[in-house]
Symmetry: C2
């Protein structure tokens, strides 16, 4: 009764008195098929409103023409930009992107790895949650030679392709910048140390202090998820007692912005009384007054590298045993009003 409207290559074959194999090959531009037949078949396919069934083809070929992407959150500036670029690039090459968000939940990440494997994605790109330190849920991809690329938030000691920013250099550069602009007591607000980003930025921060012979104080560093709420709480702590710090290096921009607003509220002048720097070069940092110094991580470039890495792995005919292989995207300090001030000649190693 219900008229089946879905046309298949079988229908085309019948209509033209050809075999299904010929039709299939004609549609795929197989060299063995004569130009005449190809024309005829394609025309009929168009006429009948034929749409290939990707699932059927995928089942047969064990290829889905689909790539998985797992990020903490697609609406945050940095991953959003990266995802955009990846998606456009892969779309160009005929791949679809299954974009999933872990919401920074380790359990969700595991579940997603599972679903994406079941969907038989041809490759997978991942930026992990803040708390992922065990990566075994991705083992199945490696075992089955499915291209796997990590970016931004990445594993250590896991045999995969990794594309990351230079977070150590970033932390170092920002902190040195603050020191050169006269800061002597710099607070660092970091994310949790389960994530490579923060480990490295903290390391950079410490190195900068050391290079300039500024003692590192444990009480001047805070670790928590970098949300607005947490930032406010930390502000309360920082400004509960004197002396106030004269510089704050926040490991993301939301935090930097929150601090700036807090300082405004308690009548601290930025940058005169206190200097503030963020990380990631979120568009808001440029627009706020005073504009906030931050670090450009070239998200578009990172997205392109990820896409390129995926495509390269995909076209390797022979499955090749992956080794840990990291590619580092440069960073660039974007100095803005929030850290302005006379450049100070600092003690310590010459720049």
């Amino acid at each position: 009764m219900s008229k089946r409207t879905e046309k298949t290559i079988v229908d085309i074959a019948e209509e033209l008195n050809l075999s299904v194999s010929t039709v299939s090959r004609a549609l795929n531009d197989h060299p063995n098929i004569s130009a005449k037949t190809k024309e005829k078949v394609k025309k009929m396919a168009r006429k009948m409103g034929y749409r290939p069934n990707t699932m059927a083809a995928g089942l047969r070929n064990n290829k889905s023409k689909t790539i998985g992407l797992v990020v903490p959150r697609i609406s945050m500036f940095f991953p959003a930009t990266i995802s955009t670029v990846i998606q456009n690039k892969l779309q160009e090459h005929g791949y679809n992107l299954l974009i999933c968000q872990s919401n920074d939940s380790y359990e969700q990440e595991i579940a997603l790895a599972d679903t994406l494997y079941s969907a038989r994605v041809d490759a997978l790109a991942v930026s992990t949650t803040l708390y992922t330190t065990d990566f075994s849920h991705f083992d199945v991809f490696i075992e089955n030679n499915i291209p796997l690329v990590f970016f931004d938030r990445v594993p250590k000691d896991y045999n995969v392709k990794v594309i990351k920013g230079d977070d150590y250099l970033g932390g170092l550069t920002v902190t040195k910048h603050l020191i050169e602009r006269g800061c002597k007591d710099i607070v660092h607000i970091s994310g949790p140390l389960t994530c490579n980003l923060y480990i490295e930025r903290v390391a950079g921060y410490k190195s900068a202090l050391q290079q300039h012979k500024i003692p590192f104080k444990k009480s001047r560093i805070f670790y928590h998820e970098l949300t607005r709420e947490n930032a406010l709480q930390t502000c309360e702590k920082i400004f509960a007692q004197q002396p106030y710090p004269d510089g704050i290096f926040a490991a993301n921009d939301t935090t930097a912005i929150t601090i700036l607003e807090y300082c405004r509220k308690i009548k601290l002048r930025v940058p005169e009384d206190i200097k503030i720097a963020g990380y990631s070069n979120d568009p808001r940092t440029e627009i706020i007054t005073p504009s906030i110094t931050s670090v450009d991580q070239y998200p578009a470039l990172m997205g392109e590298k990820v896409a390129a890495a995926l495509l390269e792995l995909l076209q390797q005919s022979k499955p090749v045993q992956q080794k840990y292989n990291e590619e580092i995207i440069p960073i660039k300090l974007i100095a803005r009003a929030s850290t302005e001030g006379p450049v100070v000649k600092v003690r310590g190693k010459k720049k």
Copy 2:
């Protein structure tokens, strides 16, 4: 040679001396299977590292457990927020999301509709390009009873479910607000009229003028894609000659921000000399100085409605002929510093 590591239900069946059908049913918790067998099968599946093949199941069932999403750009604030919500909601219900961006290209949109149909998505949600006025590339979804939902940028006279903001009311409200704050010569910067959003916002703008007996001047309205570059060009035109307008209603926030910066540059004071309002309540509008009046469109709510609509359509067992059916998400004026000023008693219809 190459050890096949992919386990299938056939392997499980052999291992347990059961038939494939029993294994399949056991894994799917079919009522006819005894608890004992289910336990046994699931345990073995786990042990053997079995992963269901979604494509095979999809082929058999004609269901992919995948939903398509087409938006102009995933990195823009408004669609990004909506996508996030949709993705999370659908993920909860076991659906994957194929997110695609048209980049506001009509051709790309057509191509995407095609691919997503071929991927046999179980449903499709779309926010069209600025230039889509012919929607026939989506016909195939309707013909095959595949749930189809449009949101934000939506068609008219096309028999589908539509979820949209109240753009007429938005345009009206913003313009009235400007008038009440004393503006008498208001420029409107609109997107192209091929898109419902702008048609309606313009209509709202005109209504407000009319209600307050302010003559509408064609020269005070500009139409173009709302990018930063275009906004700058328009600024050049607007401020090329006196008299300057005393109010500007930009149909998006990027434009409003650009104008604000331009005014700053030419030493016009906002809001004293000129008032500015945007649209969409982009996070930047809150942060810039002066903060910019804008319109909250409740993107999270819209995302939820879209997801809910998709899920509802998906669980209708009987394919039901869709009719045009629109759901309107409210808007809310967020008045900020950029339009501050004494509230003026205006002529015309009482508020």
